[in-house]
Symmetry: C2
Subunit: 384 residues, 2 copies
């Protein structure tokens, strides 16, 4: 993974127009390598930059939700219309419950109606739901189209838009269907966060905290120190945390693209608990990051019970999540039901749960032999 600041003099003209520096993080995956562009107020550069990346590109399918269609979607469409390429825009409903077979099937039909072919490029603009759904539509239409992620939520910027995980939910299990399908580029304009509702912004911070806990103690320290500036969405702070999360994720994905060595699974810290919570509340009660915040707290409690990590680390994690306004406990569903839902997790092997648990700040490990009683205890335990 390489990170470097591109100076204006080295950039093609459209990017040069932009007064802000753009950062670039490279996801290194041999012939599937791609850049993550990170900047502020950079949407005007997208058409030209993509034109340089995408040989033979003849048609764009923008996929976004209704709200984005009227804002950033329209902006990107206007810029793309200045090229000589045909542009279609397809609207999908927002909300995790819409990452469904029905919506995927409708997208496929609409893409066919729009005469989408192998020279078409899918541009997913929005949060994780749109990115996952549009990404899988791109992966599966004519057995694979190129696609670009343009995340407009913090959660999508730091997590779902990078790494090629695309897919939909089955009614009983989240993200059960999908493909590893890498984007050709990720285009992050942090100014799109200015209008993000507060609850969604805070939800994204759960994944940001996760990177500190699993991979980078000094990043965790940084988050504690600058929590107020981050909550105030100061641009330089937002750019910094987005860039660091993308660097960390790119590093992991480059080493374990398809979650085969166990390394990539660490990104799922808190997610086995979190997904079960989302599933048992029908994906309607919590935002994803909120469920992950509770899930990380439960995973931390389990790690404390197992004497894998210290109580004061758990307290620091809980305190930072709470500082960011995130929930850290959930007791409305019996623990036994939550454990059953947890077993639907994709990391389950031979019917056995594999859990990612913290060992010290900046480090986690996979634990595959947890006692049922300990997991139940951790779920019931108080958020310390």
């Amino acid at each position: 993974m390489t990170t470097y600041v591109i100076h204006a003099s080295c950039l093609p003209w459209t990017v040069r127009k932009n007064p802000n520096k753009m950062h670039q993080v490279q996801v290194k995956l041999a012939e599937r390598s791609y850049p993550i562009f990170i900047g502020t107020r950079t949407l005007d550069g997208i058409a030209t930059s993509l034109g340089e990346l995408l040989i033979g590109w003849s048609h764009t399918v923008i996929i976004c939700d209704e709200k984005v269609a009227q804002t950033f979607g329209k902006t990107v469409k206007d810029y793309l219309n200045q090229t000589n390429k045909r542009t279609s825009m397809l609207i999908v409903p927002s909300g995790e419950e819409n990452k469904s077979i029905a919506n995927l099937s409708q997208l496929w039909s609409q893409m066919l109606e729009e005469k989408t072919d192998r020279k078409s490029v899918v541009v997913a603009i929005g949060g994780g739901v749109v990115g996952d759904l549009a990404g899988f539509a791109a992966a599966s239409f004519t057995r694979g189209l190129r696609f670009i992620q343009v995340p407009t939520t913090l959660l999508a910027m730091v997590d779902s838009s990078v790494g090629g995980k695309t897919g939909i939910n089955l009614p009983a299990a989240k993200n059960m269907i999908g493909a590893f399908w890498q984007p050709h580029a990720v285009w992050i304009d942090t100014s799109t966060l200015d209008s993000l509702p507060d609850r969604e912004f805070r939800s994204g911070l759960a994944e940001v905290v996760k990177y500190g806990v699993i991979l980078d103690e000094s990043f965790f320290d940084h988050l504690e120190e600058h929590a107020d500036a981050i909550l105030a969405r100061k641009h330089e702070h937002i750019q910094h945390i987005v860039r660091r999360c993308c660097e960390l994720k790119a590093q992991v994905v480059s080493q374990d693209e398809r979650e085969t060595t166990g390394l990539r699974a660490i990104l799922n810290y808190g997610h086995t608990f979190g997904h079960a919570i989302e599933s048992k509340t029908s994906y309607g009660r919590f935002l994803h990051g909120e469920a992950i915040s509770i899930g990380m707290t439960m995973a931390g409690q389990l790690a404390v019970r197992l004497e894998l990590w210290q109580k004061d680390c758990q307290e620091r994690q809980t305190a930072l999540l709470r500082k960011f306004g995130l929930p850290t406990s959930f007791r409305e569903v019996p623990s036994e039901q939550l454990v059953v839902a947890m077993q639907m997790d994709k990391k389950t092997e031979h019917g056995r749960l594999n859990l990612i648990l913290p060992t010290r700040m900046g480090n986690v490990r996979t634990v595959s032999n947890c006692e049922y009683a300990d997991i139940l205890g951790a779920i019931y335990g108080n958020a310390t």
Copy 2:
């Protein structure tokens, strides 16, 4: 591509029990390389051979149709039951019209109910419909499971089971949704053809003839010379033609896995016409090979019109297809409608048809600038 005869002394014990030699053709795709095993009465060896190939295999999902479930499916299940692995069997309806979103969706739900996870292996037993559908279910469940193709029709043996093309149809376009997802092995037992209905056997021969026309003149000569023995399904002849087709397909797929260089597209000879014929007759009137036989005849006629190939070559192709009892003309749908349906083809770029046309026996090329009038003329033309 390598072909070699494995002598009994070099084989693991279960295969050694088999009195017949097994041939092995290797599809070379770096870390996605896999063997095609070709033999007669070899199903008894499948469990042990797969055990050697599949590290960490814990559960098998056999996918087949109702009829196969009672014959080869049951045989394979019995052999697998002798191992210590859990085995599930899922039944899908047969027929091209069942390669649908509804059936795929049902498979996904059943796989979840059967507690399928990343250590599970999908074994697709049957013809192309089952292989394509089961292959895409394997490709997409938990973003990718290992799978094994056990083709039991001639068409599936020589074509659809090799090369990793999986997928389903949209109502208006065949194979529009899917993935390139390579199997971990293809297991061909030619004795499964003994009970294949005559019409289906002949349908498979259309793809066999195709390999001669596009890649191997001497193989075409061989088919002409031994047509009667082939129609009589003499085992040594069937093994020979299956092996040669697999060798040719493996060669092409190894060089152009994802149809990006144009080489793999030659396997689609006759298919742009053929798919349109299948679509306009709602996939119910012709078997796939029958539609491809008509499609090859139309493509050949177009090539004659364009003075790309000689009339006597076209006559040899038509004569061999007819000798194999295959249809070579179709006039019930107006040509204009057929051309519209042809434009749904995945090889269409910038709205322009790319057609694979023969130039001499054993050779084809891609032609992208055909006049509309010539295509119409070829469709109306007599089968010469």
